[in-house]
């Protein structure tokens, strides 16, 4: 009789484990960023690395994103494979030139001659009262600009596999982790943020979405923390006889359009749940993908449940009003089925 042994890790531990294993495997990998050493990363993504690898490979930086993110590009061009942390994605404004005019464009500008293998890790998302400058997801903002892959894990398993894949990738990869999936003791508990993670190294392929729950009646396309919200909603809906399929994108760039079209072709109904701003972004791209790829299969016009086009407010009732959640997802699904 097979005995199933579970190796339960939080998402943040899964991420730091992946980094540690790649650092052991490849001496050219190193980590730098604000508070990633002694502190272990504000969201724990680099916990324990300093003790294991020392300050030469786990480097606390000054609050100087332009310099150290730009330095990651230079180091990558000269043979290193840096992992560099932008503490909150919202801080992109002070260093976006280094990310998008340099890191993301040099491979193209060089006609493919030079590679820039950098992983930029960054914390995203709100729901805990951190207001307008520390709560955004900004998927659409980054995904709009070509040259960087973007991965957005939702589970500990995917987090480890996507981090391993990102480090081994020869392109710049933006690795966005939602604070609400990390399993941090100081965030609202999320039971899915702790799960079995295999001990050995493995990759989750970049560019492949994952059906987190199968269903016949509608497809909920979503990512990151909203996967958890969608799964909660799907459990509610199942009690009413509605079987929702939850498709976790896992990667924004390149977007797994095939998986989106395949799922919606089956269920004939699309609900996009996106914590990012509504307009000109990810939710619209998913809808376009379905219109282009599954037009004739659609039973109903697609529905989007997103963050509205407003800066993220501080006060709890204001923020909660704006955020998609389980009940709003379930309500939108019911409407789509009606």
């Amino acid at each position: 009789m097979a005995v199933e042994t579970k190796r339960l890790l939080t998402t943040s531990k899964a991420i730091s484990e992946a980094i540690a294993m790649e650092m052991e495997r490849d001496p050219s990998v190193f980590v730098m960023g604000e508070d990633i050493g002694t502190y272990g990363g504000i969201f724990g993504a680099t916990a324990g690395l300093l003790e294991k690898f020392g300050p030469e490979r786990v480097m606390d930086t000054p609050i100087s994103e332009t310099a150290f993110i730009g330095a990651a590009t230079g180091a990558a061009l000269s043979g290193s494979r840096p992992i560099v942390e932008l503490m909150f994605v919202d801080f992109f404004g002070v260093c976006m030139d280094q990310i998008y005019n340099h890191m993301a464009k040099i491979h193209y500008e060089s006609g493919g001659a030079l590679n820039v293998p950098v992983v930029v890790t960054t914390a995203i998302g709100g729901g805990y009262g951190d207001a307008a400058q520390h709560s955004q997801t900004l998927y659409g903002m980054f995904a709009h600009l070509p040259g960087m892959k973007i991965v957005v894990p939702s589970t500990p398993y995917d987090a480890k596999g996507l981090m391993t894949a990102a480090i081994r990738d020869d392109n710049p990869v933006l690795y966005m982790f939602h604070k609400g999936i990390m399993g941090l003791g100081w965030m609202t508990p999320n039971p899915r943020a702790t799960a079995h993670v295999p001990e050995e190294a493995y990759t989750v392929p970049i560019g492949k979405a994952d059906v987190k729950r199968e269903g016949r009646d509608l497809t909920i396309v979503t990512l990151s923390l909203m996967v958890h919200r969608a799964l909660d909603a799907a459990d509610e809906l199942a009690k009413e006889g509605i079987e929702a399929e939850v498709l976790d994108l896992r990667t924004v760039i390149p977007l797994d359009r095939e998986a989106i079209v395949a799922s919606v072709s089956k269920t004939r109904r699309l609900l996009v749940v996106d914590e990012d701003y509504r307009s000109f972004g990810l939710s619209g791209e998913v809808v376009s993908t379905v219109i282009e790829g599954a037009w004739g299969r659609l039973e109903r016009p697609p529905v989007r449940l997103t963050y509205p086009d407003v800066p993220i407010p501080y006060s709890r009732p204001l923020e909660q009003f704006c955020l998609p959640d389980r009940d709003k997802i379930a309500a939108a699904a019911r409407q789509l089925m009606a």
Partner: protein, 327 residues
């Protein structure tokens, strides 16, 4: 004092840069007369030429090897050539040809060359952090290669300048920061943009050596760079060198330069560092005027070949625009 051979080689570099820039200038205006249309002719887009700034490139790059990283600016040709970039592939890139460094994808402000570890950025000061990163990688890899970051005086008021100096100083990285002060940030003179007279003084804020070369003299630049490069190579950390140089042409070609006076044009023409330097080498017996002429002839032939290569090369396949977004 550099050897006579080095003095002659710097002269050679300066000559080929000057001729290259003059040749590109002529090519740039093909198809752009009588009415100037920036998109027309064999060389479209903005064109920033570095005539007058040759001493900085020649004096600094004389100390470098091809594995040293160099980052330059929107005005990069002089540095690229002095650091050993293949002139044919440079010219072909400027002409947008498939044989160019980036197969026509980069253009003259975005030159990247693995063979000489060269890169540049069209965004003011933003090439500097990359140089810091090259030096960081060299340190991690226990190499004694160094990084040199060229930038203009206009860049010294950007955050990236200060962040880069701080980080390089903090981590004691082998970077030589070279400020080419040509006095003009497009049309804004330095005294209207910068709170102090000499950016080299800003080195003190980061606890690193700051050297001022007041006169665009290739020998003085060579000597200051020699010290800074040696210091960087032996793990002594970064330095800042500031050179008061001259931009003989406009900010970009087609710039009417109404902001510059007739006196200034006369002055910079009269003190043209290349002519002054050449005269000095002849007067001090380092070379004869026949040697000088031979150098010009040699450079002219090299440039003729490079431009011919660029002109006769094919354009890239249009749909190749979609390639090389990802490795």
């Amino acid at each position: 004092m550099p050897s006579n051979e080095t003095l002659r080689e710097m002269h050679h570099q300066m000559v080929r840069i000057r001729l290259f820039e003059e040749t590109i200038q002529k090519a740039y205006f093909e198809g752009k007369t009588p009415a100037f249309d920036i998109a027309a002719g064999p060389v479209p887009g903005e064109m920033h030429l570095a005539a007058g700034q040759e001493p900085v490139a020649a004096g600094v790059c004389a100390h470098l090897r091809s594995t040293d990283a160099v980052t330059a600016t929107h005005r990069p040709h002089h540095v690229a050539l002095a650091h050993g970039m293949d002139m044919k592939r440079l010219a072909a890139e400027i002409f947008g040809k498939d044989t160019g460094l980036g197969h026509g994808k980069g253009g003259h402000m975005h030159l990247f060359d693995a063979a000489t570890n060269f890169g540049c950025s069209g965004i003011i000061a933003e090439g500097m952090p990359t140089a810091v990163g090259h030096a960081l990688a060299f340190k991690k890899q226990d190499r004694d290669d160094i990084a040199v970051s060229f930038f203009g005086e206009g860049a010294a008021n950007q955050g990236a300048f200060h962040e880069s100096l701080n980080l390089a100083a903090l981590w004691k990285l082998g970077v030589v920061f070279v400020c080419e002060d040509n006095a003009w940030a497009i049309s804004v003179p330095k005294e209207k943009s910068t709170a102090i007279a000499n950016n080299s003084d800003r080195a003190a804020a980061y606890g690193i050596p700051g050297v001022l070369i007041p006169d665009n003299d290739p020998v003085a630049i060579y000597e200051a760079a020699g010290e800074a490069v040696a210091r960087a190579r032996r793990g002594g950390g970064p330095s800042l060198i500031e050179v008061k140089t001259d931009r003989l042409f406009g900010h970009f070609e087609g710039d009417p330069q109404l902001y510059r006076s007739k006196q200034e044009f006369a002055l910079i023409k009269e003190r043209d560092a290349l002519r002054v330097y050449e005269r000095r080498l002849i007067d001090t017996g380092v070379m004869t005027s026949q040697d000088a002429q031979a150098t010009w002839d040699r450079a002219r032939a090299e440039i003729g070949e490079a431009i011919e290569f660029a002109r006769s090369s094919p354009y890239p396949e249009p749909a190749s625009a979609l390639l090389h977004v990802f490795a």
